[in-house]
Structure formats: C-alpha cells, structure tokens
C-alpha cells in the first residue's frame, strides 16, 4: 500500500504518491538544512560552555591549552578542508550525471576522514601517556586544579563528539558511494549526493571553529 520509491531506470527520481520529484528535491534540501540547524545548536551549547569557562578560568585554560599539539590540529584542518572540496566537486559530478566522478570524489573525502581520525587517535594516545585524562577522577597527580582538568574534560567532549560526527559523515559517504556505483544518479536525481555533501561540509564547518578555539587560544 505504501507507495515505496520504485526506481524505474537509472538516474530517474523515485516516484512518490504524495509529492512530485522536483518538489521532493527541494523539500529534502529544506529538511536537511533544518537538520544542520539542530547540529549547529548541538555544538553551540558546547561552544558557550567553553566560552564561559574560558572567561572565568582563563589562566588554567591557557596553560592546559599549551599541552595540545597545534601542528596536528593544523594538518587536520587542511585535511578536512580538502575533503570538503572533493565533496563539493562530487556534487558537481552528480549534476552532470557522472556517477564514476561521484564515487572517486566521495572516496577521496572518505579517505581524508580516515586520515583525520588517525591523526585524532595519535593526539588522544599522546595525551593518555602524559596522563591528561577526560575525567577528573582518573588524574593521578593532585596538584592540577579542577579547572585545569575541566579543560581536558571539555576538550575530549568537544573533539570526541566532533569525531563521532566525522564517523557518521563517513558512513553517509559510504552509503552514497554504494548508490553511485549502481549509477543511481543523474542530472534529474542527485538528492542523496547533495545531502551527503551538505552533512560533510557541516562537519568541516564545526572543525573550522573548533581548531582556533581549542588549539590557539591565548
């Protein structure tokens, strides 16, 4: 009974009983932007908590921030920017019905995501050796103040949640690559490509603000 999206032939938009294809495209994009709004709000709470604590306990946060390695942060920023570029190119390829182009570009983005996670893993393990743990209860030395430990608490929460979104973004990219390999897209139907790219751009957007705030504050 439910009018499932029946794919007639490659590249044709799915047919729904309640909405015509062009309207469906614009509706999906509108819905995606709304979802991006909720993601921005999700991170805005972390940003404002960080801003408040940074203002109140500036000295602690300042010396804690020196423990971070800004070189790895900078590389990560470059990696994500490049993956954002390839995601945008992938959308262009989909718009000109070049499914192979989509697979290649989203593949590159996926790899960049992987590199980002590897660098993140290196950073986290470096911190674990130095004994900077997320929770205040794990610290072995007691001469650090609670606010000093909180910096790392916030650092792990923000970068951890961002890394989780990178993983979700990579999952979305894989799903779209899967469809593109069955050359599902054409200039008449490329909504999943556009939505996947939008989500990936958001993940990059969040990191653009995370990098200076966490790594370079003084």
């Amino acid at each position: 009974m439910a009018s499932e999206a029946k794919t007639v032939e490659a590249g044709a938009p799915p047919v729904y009983h309640h909405i015509d294809p062009v309207n469906a495209y614009h509706a999906s994009k509108l819905g995606m932007w709304l979802f991006l709004a909720t993601e921005i709000l999700l991170f805005s709470v972390l940003f404002s908590a960080f801003a408040v604590y940074n203002w109140m306990y500036f000295e602690y946060f300042h010396d804690a921030a020196t423990k971070l390695d800004w070189r790895l942060g900078a590389i990560n920023t470059a990696v994500l920017l490049f993956s954002s570029y390839t995601a945008a190119v992938a959308v262009y390829k989909a718009q000109i019905s070049d499914n192979r182009g989509v697979v290649i570009n989203f593949g590159i983005s996926f790899l960049c995501g992987l590199i980002f996670l590897v660098i993140k893993y290196i950073e986290y393990s470096a911190k674990y050796e130095h004994g900077y743990f997320p929770g205040t209860s794990y610290w072995n030395s007691t001469e650090f103040s609670a606010h000093y430990k909180n910096y790392f608490g916030l650092y792990y929460t923000m970068t951890g949640l961002h890394a989780l979104h990178v993983v979700i973004g990579m999952g979305v990219l894989l799903w779209v690559i899967g469809l593109a390999r069955k050359n599902r897209f054409s200039s008449r139907y490329y909504t999943p490509v556009e939505l996947g790219a939008l989500y990936w751009h958001l993940v990059d957007l969040i990191w653009i603000f995370l990098f200076p705030l966490l790594y370079l504050i003084d």
Partner: protein, 108 residues
Amino acid sequence: MAEELGHIIHPRTFLKVLVILLVLTLLTVLLSPRVSGEMVDFGKINIVIALSIAIIKASLVLSYFMHLKFEGLWILVYFITPVILLLIMILGLFIDTPVRIDPIQPPF
C-alpha cells in the same frame, strides 16, 4: 529539468575557494602567539582575530561549497536562526557568570 533542481557551480570555483581557505588557515596559525611567539601577542584581541578569520572561512564554505549563495530565502533563514540563538545563549550566559559577585569568605 536539471536547472530547476539545484544551481551548478564549476569545480574551478571550488578550487579557488579551497586555496583561499588553506591560505586563511595558514594565516590563523601564523597570527597566533602560541606559534609565532610574542611578535603577534596583542592579548585579548588574538581571540577576536582568530574567530573573525574562522567566520570568513565558514562563510566561504557555506556560500560556495554548500551553495547557500544560490538557495532560496527560507534556507538562509534556517541557517541564520541557530546562529542568532547561539549569540543569544552566549549573551544570556555572559550577563550572569562573569558579573556574579559572591560575598566574602567567612573568617573560619
């Protein structure tokens, strides 16, 4: 048919935007006292510099990579509203937390 769907931007423009973004990232890194020492240390203004460059980068990604420049009005509204709410939240917190004066510590 394709034109009705979404606006098409040629990868050449994407490449130009990518280059500008990488340059801006380099600029942010160079301008931070942590990296290039006291020469650029202007105290509190550093945060403002870093954030403004980040805002420029973000607006570049938004308008070109995410086609926001060529979208309808409503999508722009849906993007601006959470940013305004972020500012309201930060403003609401900052008129309370830093301005809160607690009485003195009792003598014993």
